[in-house]
Amino acid sequence: MLLIPCPWCGPRDDAEFAYGNQAHLARPADPSATTDAEWAEYLYFRDNPKGPFAERWMHAAGCRRWFHVVRDTNSHAILQVYKVGEWPDPAVLGGKELS
């Protein structure tokens, strides 16, 4: 069970949220210029770390807004919550720079 702190509504049970998986994915600017491998990577291949993971959540049964969470997928600890357009703290992601 997760207690997710919505940046607008505060801490709520995860039953209220929809999961959006890996955050900060960019659709290729010119899809027709990608190779099959690049397009497959964009469509099907997501990070799947055991540890801190920057992911998207939507407060479906609340304010219905999307936001970002860095969550440890092994301990379920929520390490950072931030809004769309912001970037995660590299220290929280174990030194990984996303932006």
Partner: protein
């Protein structure tokens, strides 16, 4: 002392039989032999299987029994069968929509049918039938279409009316006024269940008999590569072990192993939960699944009702999930089977499943020469255990996939030839 009629492998294990049971009863069951050895890892092997679940142990067994290899190790980070093999709800069926899936799951089901005898281990394989319910007009139509497709592949399956379902499952609520009324369904009578632990133990014992080293408490922490980039061994918590032929069969942890080897898989690790009720007298002698309400039920030989549901929505390696999934599944159970409403839940648990975008497995070569992966079985791989091991052993032995494995390569994600069992399988157990 050798006795007639006993199979003896290199390790000289006697067969299990009614006579062995009687003989051991005389000595108060204190003289049973260990079912497998616990050897120290050797410096190198002809083949290494990473992951001692049912699929990994079956792979090792078939590498030895079909392909005649002798220097094989299974490396397991915990204890064998402690992963999803020991956590699943044991539903076995082969009624999948697509030809590629039909081939691999039916291959498995045929192997199940003779497996207790082959392994000399009672797997408690019970072909009690698997029913899938339809709860809407649309679902019923789709089911009719699916049944025809499945039958074209030579797999037994029949459409059921509501009264057929009621006859087979007297405790089901067929009141047309409920939220998801039972409008019929379909059944695979050759489907059923098996004892999950026994599958791991039976394969382990038979593999050990053929000389396979089963090494527990041995976590793979890295891969060794030669100058050309080909795999030449693994780093483990019990030291370096060398081999140029390595198969990873690590279910939920496949993504972690792929990352150690330097590539990505189209796989996400998700919790899948299940629960059992307190034991009661027999009330249901088949398996009933429902995709619309994401709940399925069977009854164990101990009398517990075994209930499963869909996965939790988020990535996790924690082997636990959220309460709302359990709440949802119990609500559905109470509506469909009103007699369960006063039963207590005995325990709930979770496993980490390796979900794949098309809900089909990956049996494949990888960007690293000599390294193979068998994963992506997600919520429904227990039923495939013998077939998966059999086909994956063939891939490891020959370095190229046979006709059953070929469609399940990693290339399919680039080529666009997905085997989309999502719609077809729903809750794909």
């Amino acid at each position: 002392m050798a006795e007639a009629g006993r199979r003896r492998g290199p390790t000289g294990k006697p067969r299990y039989s009614i006579f062995a049971l009687a003989r051991n009863a005389l000595s108060y069951h204190e003289n049973w032999q260990a079912a497998w050895r616990s050897p120290e890892p050797k410096p190198s092997y002809e083949a290494i299987v990473v992951g001692g679940g049912g699929h990994g142990l079956a792979t090792a067994y078939y590498l030895a029994s079909v392909h005649g290899m002798r220097k094989i190790a299974v490396l397991e980070k915990g204890w064998i069968g402690g992963g999803n093999t020991g956590r699943n709800t044991t539903i076995i069926r082969s009624n999948y929509l697509w030809d590629e899936s039909a081939a691999i799951y039916e291959h498995a089901l045929k192997l199940w049918e003779g497996l207790s005898q082959e392994l000399n281990f009672n797997l408690m394989f019970s072909q009690r039938g698997v029913i899938t319910l339809a709860h809407s007009e649309h679902e019923l139509k789709e089911m009719r279409r699916r049944v025809e497709a499945i039958r074209l592949n030579g797999i037994d399956t029949e459409v059921l009316s509501t009264s057929d379902v009621k006859k087979l499952v007297p405790i089901i609520n067929t009141d047309p006024g409920i939220r998801w009324p039972v409008m019929g369904g379909f059944i695979q009578r050759r489907g059923g269940t098996a004892r999950h632990d026994a599958v791991a133990w039976g394969y382990a014992r038979a593999a050990d008999d053929l000389g396979v080293d089963i090494i527990q408490n041995c976590e793979v922490t890295g891969f060794l590569k030669d100058a050309t980039g080909a795999v030449e061994g693994v780093e483990t918590t019990r030291g370096t072990i060398r081999s140029r032929r390595i198969g990873c069969v690590a279910a939920g942890h496949s993504g972690v192993l792929a990352a150690l080897a330097g590539f990505k898989l189209p796989i996400q690790a998700r919790p899948l939960q299940a629960l059992v009720s307190e034991p009661i007298k027999p009330v249901i002698d088949t398996v009933v699944m429902s995709n619309a309400v994401h709940m399925y039920v069977s009854q164990s030989d101990k009398g517990e009702l075994v209930l499963g549901a869909g996965t939790d929505s988020y990535n996790s390696y924690a082997q636990r999930g959220s309460m709302n999934i359990i709440e949802h599944q119990l609500a559905a159970a109470c509506e469909l089977y009103p007699i369960v409403s006063r039963l207590r839940v005995l325990r709930t648990w979770g496993g980490i499943v390796d979900t794949c975008p098309d809900a089909s497995p990956i049996l494949s070569r990888t960007p690293v020469e000599g390294l193979y992966f068998n994963c992506g079985w997600g919520t429904g791989g227990f039923k495939a255990t013998p077939g998966s091991g059999h086909v994956f052993a063939d891939l490891l032995a020959h370095g190229k996939p046979n006709a059953i494995a070929a469609p399940f390569g990693l290339e399919r994600f680039q080529g666009g030839y997905l085997i989309d069992e999502h719609g077809a399988a729903g809750v794909a157990h």
